[in-house]
Symmetry: D2
Subunit: 275 residues, 4 copies
Amino acid sequence: MVLLIQCIDQVGLVAAIAAILAKDGINIVSMREFVDTADNRFFARVVLAGEMDSASLLTQLTARLPANAAINLVTSNEKKLILLVTKEYHCLGDLLIRHHFKTLGAGIQCVIGNRNTLQDICRRFDIPFHFQTHEAMEKPAFESALLHIIQQYNADYLVLAKFMRILSDGFVAKFPNRLINIHHSFLPAFTGSSPYRQAFDRGVKLIGATAHFVTNELDEGPIISQQIIPVTHSFTTLDMVHSGKEIETAVLARALQLVIEDRVLVYKNKTIVFD
Amino acid sequence: MVLLIQCIDQVGLVAAIAAILAKDGINIVSMREFVDTADNRFFARVVLAGEMDSASLLTQLTARLPANAAINLVTSNEKKLILLVTKEYHCLGDLLIRHHFKTLGAGIQCVIGNRNTLQDICRRFDIPFHFQTHEAMEKPAFESALLHIIQQYNADYLVLAKFMRILSDGFVAKFPNRLINIHHSFLPAFTGSSPYRQAFDRGVKLIGATAHFVTNELDEGPIISQQIIPVTHSFTTLDMVHSGKEIETAVLARALQLVIEDRVLVYKNKTIVFD
Amino acid sequence: MVLLIQCIDQVGLVAAIAAILAKDGINIVSMREFVDTADNRFFARVVLAGEMDSASLLTQLTARLPANAAINLVTSNEKKLILLVTKEYHCLGDLLIRHHFKTLGAGIQCVIGNRNTLQDICRRFDIPFHFQTHEAMEKPAFESALLHIIQQYNADYLVLAKFMRILSDGFVAKFPNRLINIHHSFLPAFTGSSPYRQAFDRGVKLIGATAHFVTNELDEGPIISQQIIPVTHSFTTLDMVHSGKEIETAVLARALQLVIEDRVLVYKNKTIVFD
Amino acid sequence: MVLLIQCIDQVGLVAAIAAILAKDGINIVSMREFVDTADNRFFARVVLAGEMDSASLLTQLTARLPANAAINLVTSNEKKLILLVTKEYHCLGDLLIRHHFKTLGAGIQCVIGNRNTLQDICRRFDIPFHFQTHEAMEKPAFESALLHIIQQYNADYLVLAKFMRILSDGFVAKFPNRLINIHHSFLPAFTGSSPYRQAFDRGVKLIGATAHFVTNELDEGPIISQQIIPVTHSFTTLDMVHSGKEIETAVLARALQLVIEDRVLVYKNKTIVFD
């Protein structure tokens, strides 16, 4: 059981939380906390063990913690994901393999593609694939169709695993802190389209990938994970694309692991990651 | 003020510690704890703020924590270091620069060299340099001479900053968890002498450096920090030596920072590093 | 077309090779050379473009280069691989995905497992799987059975993609520089079995993976590629296993890419990698 | 002796260069070439050994290579540097140590500071320090004063080793490909002032440093070297500043090594780095 807390900071919060847990005989397996002193904000992640009355625990914590504290006692139910894809296979393939061998730590409910390129690979893994073209449609109609599919499932997170359409503010607003994207640059460098082309033109000596929650500002949402790899003058744009896929795959997998294990809290436009 | 605790694990330790601090109105700026479940051992580092009666705090903690708990309330006094060197300048130069500009976080009491090569650079920084040759001496006499110098100062740590003599068990035993070495390989690969020659002969694709506490087992003490850099077939042994100096310098600086900031606990042959 | 050359070094080799190519109107797309000055040995990799008479080119090169030069003019035929596995899926899954989407750059002829755990995933990708148990068999009989399967195909390389049996010297000798293994440590640290357990016991701050050609010395063959990732005191052996799988997968994929693209030359117990 | 060549690409350039060298009995110790196929441009770096008539060699190369080829036969004279600094010591300190122990591979002619903070450390290393304030001066007068100092020396490169003034286009234009800056971000992210503040505000999970040639576009010149280090939510802006200094120091040292060893060619807004 994982307990996530976010609230205004006060003296004695750790002691108060620990005391409530101790009183009920709940053992603290591990505890991580962080205080954003500039914003006077407290964040904690506590892994609990032992028998517990969840409702009672929440009541006691709510009574003791500052008003408006966000308290989340995460049960061990498996997280559920919906993946949105276009044509590139590398992130999807990696996630399907992990899912198939039960190391993803989450269930893939279905995959939605605005191309049907990746239908076959989903079929091979017995994962439902919904082909929903964006062509010959206005964006509102396309997004309504997506939502219609999404609503058939009960997903915790939507993962844009190389989904090459920009979603509207209205769509994004339906999934606050639940919509995760992999962007193929070390943000904030090279926002928008063709980041590898931009990287090539700039002559950088490293390229990167960034997994982030999606907000209404394109490529500006809270960053969960980032990695880079070195490149040289001999890399063409296509070489960067190929090498970049390796870290896109790794960064998205890492970000999902952090999210699935309830290690990520969001505050304003940043993440607190208890890894 | 930093509070370091190491003891047998029990249910409720975090709560107990936090309660004692809260009762005295001491604020927890940050708290990190770790339980070695295999060995049933509890480790914590707590950064405290506010007025406090240190003696009272220690008494309360001692009374509440398990028997034989190691409780260390570190005052803010600057740590004192003695550096031991031979001929290579890179680690020493880096530490002298940091010390000179007051970012080392510790005072360099003196430098002891078994060669006089580095006397001049110490003089330029107004740091006492003691030249103590090992030549034409038995090891016991050499070490007695070293100890005679060391005893003139009140050092918290001895740092072997590229000191190319092997110290006896008896010498090492005088400085438990206080003697820090930088070894020029990613231990446990390439223990002993000429690790870069060994790395060249083996054809590795990466070389490394390891900072560790010294124990009676050569190159076997608790590891504090390690880093590697890639190498290629085109590296000669000398190229590896040159590139390796960069990470030796970085790794020793990093390890000292961790130690100086009281972020390192030692248990058996391992370190717990709250970075 | 890729031209690989390995021979005794002489003054004028680059000029001689370039002149032969220029005379026949063959363009040098890229050229990499390396001289091992200690061993007086010359290595080159030249990417060629344009119409060429391969036989004539080889004749001219052989006539001009030192005696016993190893000259290899690689045609563009796709390399063929056989994968040997036991139970762990991560390397195999990654290679199957790359193969399926035609970015492996090689054909997977079949997979041989000494367990049948991974039969199902191969079936899903329409890759022949041969289950050959090692149980209740002497090693010679087991290896004969393996060879019987291998001889049904025409493989350029055998890849031990987490194959947990040690092969005999006689078996290994049949595939010089054609047998590739992924070892789950940064060799030469932690040879042999349970390297993550060894790493945990030693308290290292980084763990690694090494892809290498297999020779008769266990874990001592020429290293192709290595990577590491940082770990902390909080990693259990199992955590290291899980994190290690990520770099095992990456390192084996990288090593195979280098081999498949004819970027790796072997000399004595080392590789020259023109990446 | 190092030969650097940059020209329009043609079939047979490597053969032609190698033939000229072979004819004169000059040995090729190593040769690296790169063809920018998009721009049809050829770059080469050749390390030569043996007796040679430089003038004759240049004449032959000029006659054979395409018109307007840039041919640079670098003699082994030590490069000369002038360092410009403000108040931060870390890059300067590192370079002074390397210079003092003769591993910089270049001579530091003098240091110019627009503050006098770093005068003392230069004095300790017997390096001339020129204090030239920018206060109470218009930029043209300030830059004239700088130029007056610079002209007293015969420097190959000007190094902005944490020089916190923006130089005018006119000043920059006097030192094409000879003016090197260290910028404290992974460009093109966070151009301009306070990149660590920008990085903190954006919530990135890595910070970086970039060494580049200075052109008239602020922070837009050809990149020589870049590195990053990971950061977490717990880093304040000041923590990023402190950690960032480590990679600023490393990246500038690396870039200078590449430049000093004649491994960097510039074409348009990019570098070709034969490392």
